[in-house]
Subunit: 218 residues, 2 copies
Amino acid sequence: MRVGIIGTGMVGRALGGKLVELGHEVMLGSRTEQNPTAVAWAQQAGEKGSHGTFAEAAAFGELLIVAVSGVVAVKALATAGDEHLTGKVLIDVSNPLVFSPLGEVSLEPVNVDSIGEQIQRDFPQARVVKALNTLNCELMVDPSRVPGEHQVFVAGNDPAAKADVTEVLHSFGWPKESVLDLGDITASRGLEMLMPFWLRLMNHYGHADFNYSIRSAR
Amino acid sequence: MRVGIIGTGMVGRALGGKLVELGHEVMLGSRTEQNPTAVAWAQQAGEKGSHGTFAEAAAFGELLIVAVSGVVAVKALATAGDEHLTGKVLIDVSNPLVFSPLGEVSLEPVNVDSIGEQIQRDFPQARVVKALNTLNCELMVDPSRVPGEHQVFVAGNDPAAKADVTEVLHSFGWPKESVLDLGDITASRGLEMLMPFWLRLMNHYGHADFNYSIRSAR
């Protein structure tokens, strides 16, 4: 499968690396034509890895992944071009973190809106699935870093798109029963609002190799 | 120990019932003098259970629990009287849920403030500990309803107060290692912002007998 990744940060590179390892062709998309990080990534990724602009990556991918900061996600996709998103499954892994000058972290949007919803609203022809924004990127592609059963979550309006994303997650090492479907794209609110709790847990443990396991009585 | 509970809802009654069962004297506090729910609760609770106004319950308790809706918590405590809170450990179990006329749920405050912080700010002489707002009230006092290891969280500025609350949680059946300290009272933001995720999980499972287990690699 051809995968276009919007964003060249740690998350995009981790996902891209794993997808190449699994045999997919991956183009890492950047704002600029010759982003040094993207060029270096494509070089080390081998012949299945490439780099380009947001628009080139979006045009290239049959599956798209939004891996820029949540606060610029919609803008990055507008730059990528609406026409390249139509009908495609688009995994939104972003979080809307805003850092104040004093280092205080907050979310924007929050509460009654979310990045997942913004993207689905602004690009109604894309099949948006919120996923993987609730854990560290190394763990996204290697669940065995944390022992035992733990979970990832999907949300979106298109059941077939969520099924496709569940297959991708399964290929990353997530058992299918560890992928919890939380409903339509408005569930992105709750998934994005996990971030302040997650940051406190990271502070508590002193590392990011942890994840949520939901224990249920039945 | 004498415990004053501010609020006569399901959460206050569940906590009050367990505390009476454990041998504590509990007064359930209400806005009004003869709240029928509080009267009925005190009758069935036996000689260790009583009811009164917010002010009477706050004056009575050596330990206080805020178990009203988050959006009215500060107002309820103001009614209870600042002078009855001074130096006392005050467990805030509330969530700032707001329901729109169309049934949409949101939080107020959210993101850069929380009920836990509001209470600590408005009543600086109280020793506020945010706890137990992340799970169903039946599970609060009976962790064995959900099999396996799962956790509760405490946050607050006073380490001794958090240690006292950890003892109370232990008496409810929570192993001490299942009580995670997430830091100062600003961690209330993340704990309160779990609610939208929790509501989606409840919808997913079809019941409220579930809880978070944080799995960590080390």
